[in-house]
């Protein structure tokens, strides 16, 4: 019998992905008996011209959607107060959040307030304190899809919340909305998702219900990330906008994979790579997603040796059944790690070195490691300091972890 005999799984989100996904919003609201949604747009979503396509989707619906166009990057409780007044005064009965993580975050907290009593914000703080379903909550993510789209966590000012009831009901991914984004943001989101999915997919005790989501995310990122970046408008460079055309499908797939990655990291405790990359991001200019991509093969090698993570299984998701079947059993894990390093190498070249291949290349010095790990273990008692140091040292020099 396996070690983890018991498993508990729930994915309440309805995924809807592809052409005209926005046009499904009114019908889906009707399923919940909602008639008057309040639609929240971030400032950036407004600049990117996302209001019109979303508005048009309601043209023939006989629904009167309220529009709030200017959720700030860092909303506060007073933003919540303002919005809940609008929601209640105008008789709204559902929320749709359009844009990136900050809007999703705000919408979740707002939904707690408008679905119950104003005092709920205090009583619902912490983990699993919300006891019943909230009002319908839909999200329409931009290309910078982060974990926040599909998870059950939110925080605002000093309040933080975690609950299955904060997970959105409906997620519409539409090509008109994921149109433009910088390459750096796309890579960050994809590598973050690749890391959480790879760890979930190779768990020593397979979780069969997370497996399909993880498999799909890994496969999608591996097939689409490089082609999408290759097709970016190179003249503008990686920091400028990438215009989507023939890579439309690939980019839609990437956004979906990033969203699924966010869901997976909500189901699973953060692995050593995610924790290390969060900490590292404070020591350099790179985002934690990009750092997670860099650390991923080293972290997996370590987890395989230390805890029996099934790295050989990863080859199937990364390279497909043909390569997997042709590769001798005892070389599959190594091959998978080779593919991960290859992706990293290609990103290095495609971004003119912006995405580093090693921690040394990222300008992080060895001297900072122990101080960083020290700080990590102060906040997190379960941290494996020796393991962290080993992963960092190997990733610094670009040397595979072959023993522990």
């Amino acid at each position: 019998m396996s070690r983890t005999d018991y498993s508990d799984f729930l994915c309440p989100i309805k995924f809807c992905c592809g052409k005209l996904a926005l046009e499904t919003l009114p019908a889906e609201l009707r399923v919940y008996n909602a008639r008057k949604p309040l639609i929240l747009f971030s400032n950036k979503a407004v600049i990117n011209g996302l209001i019109d396509p979303v508005k048009q989707a309601f043209d023939d619906s006989e629904m009167v959607a309220g529009i709030y166009d200017g959720v700030p990057e860092s909303p506060t409780l007073s933003t919540i107060r303002e919005l809940s007044d609008i929601y209640i005064k105008n008789g709204h009965d559902a929320l749709i959040a359009v844009g990136s993580g900050s809007v999703m975050n705000l919408a979740k907290v707002l939904n707690i307030v408008v679905s119950g009593e104003p005092g709920d914000l205090k009583t619902c703080q912490g983990e699993d304190k919300i006891t019943k379903p909230l009002n319908p909550f839909f999200v329409v993510p931009e290309a910078s899809a982060t974990g926040l789209m599909a998870n059950g966590s939110a925080c605002i000012d000093n309040f933080s919340f975690t609950s299955r009831y904060l997970i959105p009901d409906y997620l519409a991914i539409d090509p008109r909305i994921v149109q433009q984004e910088t390459v750096g943001v796309i890579i960050d989101a994809a590598m973050r998702a690749l890391s959480s999915s790879s760890f979930a997919y190779t768990l020593p005790d397979t979780d069969y219900f997370i497996d399909p989501y993880a498999y799909l995310a890994i496969q999608t990122i591996c097939e689409n990330l490089i082609p999408v970046i290759e097709n970016a408008d190179s003249k503008k460079g990686f920091k400028d906008y990438l215009i989507m055309n023939d890579t439309e499908k690939g980019k839609m797939a990437l956004v979906t994979a990033s969203v699924i990655g966010g869901f997976i990291s909500f189901c699973q405790p953060a692995g050593i790579v995610m924790r290390l990359s969060e900490a590292l991001s404070e020591y350099c200019q790179l985002s934690s997603g990009i750092l997670a991509g860099l650390l991923l093969p080293y972290g997996l090698e370590y987890a395989m040796l230390k805890e029996g993570y099934q790295t050989e299984k990863l080859l199937l998701a990364l390279a497909g059944p043909d390569v997997y079947s042709r590769t001798p059993e005892n070389e599959r894990g190594k091959s998978a790690m080779g593919i991960l390093r290859d992706i990293q190498d290609k990103l290095f070249h495609l971004t003119d070195g912006y995405i580093p291949r090693t921690l040394a290349g990222a300008g992080i010095s060895e001297n900072q490691f122990s101080e960083m790990i020290e700080r990590m273990s102060q906040n997190d008692e379960g941290i494996d300091s020796k393991g962290c140091l080993s992963i960092l040292n190997h990733a610094r020099e670009g040397r595979p972890v072959s023993d522990i």
Binding site: Y6, S7, F9, P12, F15, S325
Partner: protein
């Protein structure tokens, strides 16, 4: 990877699985704000001792409102109405359904009546008539096959008017499905084989039919691989608890796949053979599955070829040239049926003429074919099959599956 222009995926039932999950039910009920569940089952479930197991697992920690195991195999409006009286009289506030398709469908209907405080179920017939969540509902499947606990539909008969009424809404779904290995541990070998092949068919058809999408595909591949790796072992070693649990998980994954991407001709024909001749669903599925693949071969053989990997594993996959893989998949499924036939002492039927009832009489006769083919044309599943199914095609498949001959693919009319 196959990427459609547009796709949807939803599987919002919480899945709690393991060898001792029943004991967690009181906690789940509490989280759902429920205190007095009505437990629903059929006589078969009680006879197999499963109600006893459920009762023992929860009775110390929750007040059971009532237990009713009088759900017939072809439940109807009257049964649902009678149960709503039981529910109300006993002040129940939640439903626990233990069983297969019929118990689950009955529970879904019952939940409409008691949640909407209604007497006439017909008011809610059709799609999306429900507008809000119903009462807490926990499903405990006992067959590792049907996947009814994951579908948003319920079929309930109206025996007075000789019709079947369809209900469709996401609010019909249970809140939680409990996958506990004890529920399938004593399932007889031939029944284990048939129900597992039903699950296998859900996964395979969802992978080749028109509504396939990347998420349903990923679930289907996992399901196929798990069934293929565990089914024969469990048949040969029935008390293999871990194998049983993996088969039940596979059936759940297959249910997640097909409840999103639907099924095709194997189910089309299976429903009508079930209706006309009373053959158990799983038996029809095992027999028609290879034919379903042959029938759609000219349209979807690349997808069929991809199934060889989860079915047969990396060695066979690598050893089979790319252009032979689809045929090898079909051959593999036929061989699986043969192995199941051998391992169950011949009780697992390989073709129609081999299906016998309890008295050893043939259940399907050639004279039934006409009626079966006619009814098939009206079955809802036919719309998602890649090739367009008509009367002649159904006859073609029925004739071949009479004695297990492979389908002559040249004779399939190419309508699609």
């Amino acid at each position: 990877m196959y990427l459609p222009e547009y796709c949807e995926f939803l599987s919002p039932v919480q899945i709690a699985s393991g060898h001792h999950v029943l004991e967690k039910i009181p906690g789940f009920l509490k989280a759902l704000n429920a205190k007095r569940p009505l437990i629903l089952a059929d006589k078969g479930v009680t006879a197999a001792g499963l109600i006893g197991i459920v009762e023992d697992a929860i009775k110390d920690n929750v007040q059971i409102g009532a237990i009713d195991d009088d759900v017939p195999p072809d439940s109807d409006l009257k049964v649902v109405s009678r149960l709503s009286d039981v529910y109300r009289k006993n002040n129940c506030d939640a439903i626990i359904a233990v069983g297969g398709g019929s118990v689950l469908d009955t529970a879904k209907g019952l939940n409409i009546l008691v949640s909407e405080d209604a007497d006439n179920l017909m008011e809610f017939a059709g799609a999306n008539k429900l507008k809000r969540p119903l009462k807490p509902f926990i499903a405990i499947p006992t067959t590792a096959g049907t996947g009814s606990e994951l579908t948003m539909a319920a079929v309930i008969a109206d025996h007075d008017n000789f019709i079947k009424i369809l209900f469709g809404s996401r609010f019909l779904l249970p809140d939680i499905a409990i996958i506990d290995s004890r529920m399938t541990l004593t399932l007889p070998a031939f029944f284990t084989a048939a129900t597992a092949m039903d699950a296998m068919t859900h996964a395979v058809e969802s992978y080749i039919c028109l509504q396939k999408n990347p998420l349903s595909d990923a679930h289907a591949l996992s399901a196929i691989s798990l069934i293929s790796k565990n089914l024969l072992n469990v048949i040969r070693k029935p008390d293999d608890q871990e194998g049983r649990l993996l088969l039940a998980k596979a059936a759940t994954l297959a249910g997640m796949a097909f409840s999103n991407s639907t099924v095709g001709i194997v189910h089309t024909l299976g429903h009508s053979v079930g209706g006309v001749c009373g053959v158990p669903h799983g038996t029809c599925m095992s027999i028609f599955l290879p034919y379903g693949l042959e029938y759609n071969y000219h349209l979807v053989n690349p997808f069929i070829a991809e199934l060889l990997f989860p079915l047969a594993g990396p060695e066979v996959y690598a050893d089979t040239p790319e252009n032979k893989r689809a045929e090898k998949t079909i051959e593999y499924i036929r061989q699986l049926n043969q192995d199941l036939h051998d391992a169950t002492g011949g009780r697992h039927a390989r073709f129609l003429s081999e299906i016998l009832n309890r008295d050893g009489e043939q259940m399907v006769k050639k004279s039934h074919f006409d009626a079966i083919a006619r009814i098939s044309i009206g079955d809802g599943t036919k719309f998602y099959n890649p090739e367009e199914i008509d009367y002649d095609d159904s006859m073609l498949v029925l004739e071949a599956s009479w004695d297990g001959r492979p389908l002559n693919r040249n004779l399939v009319k190419k309508n699609a």
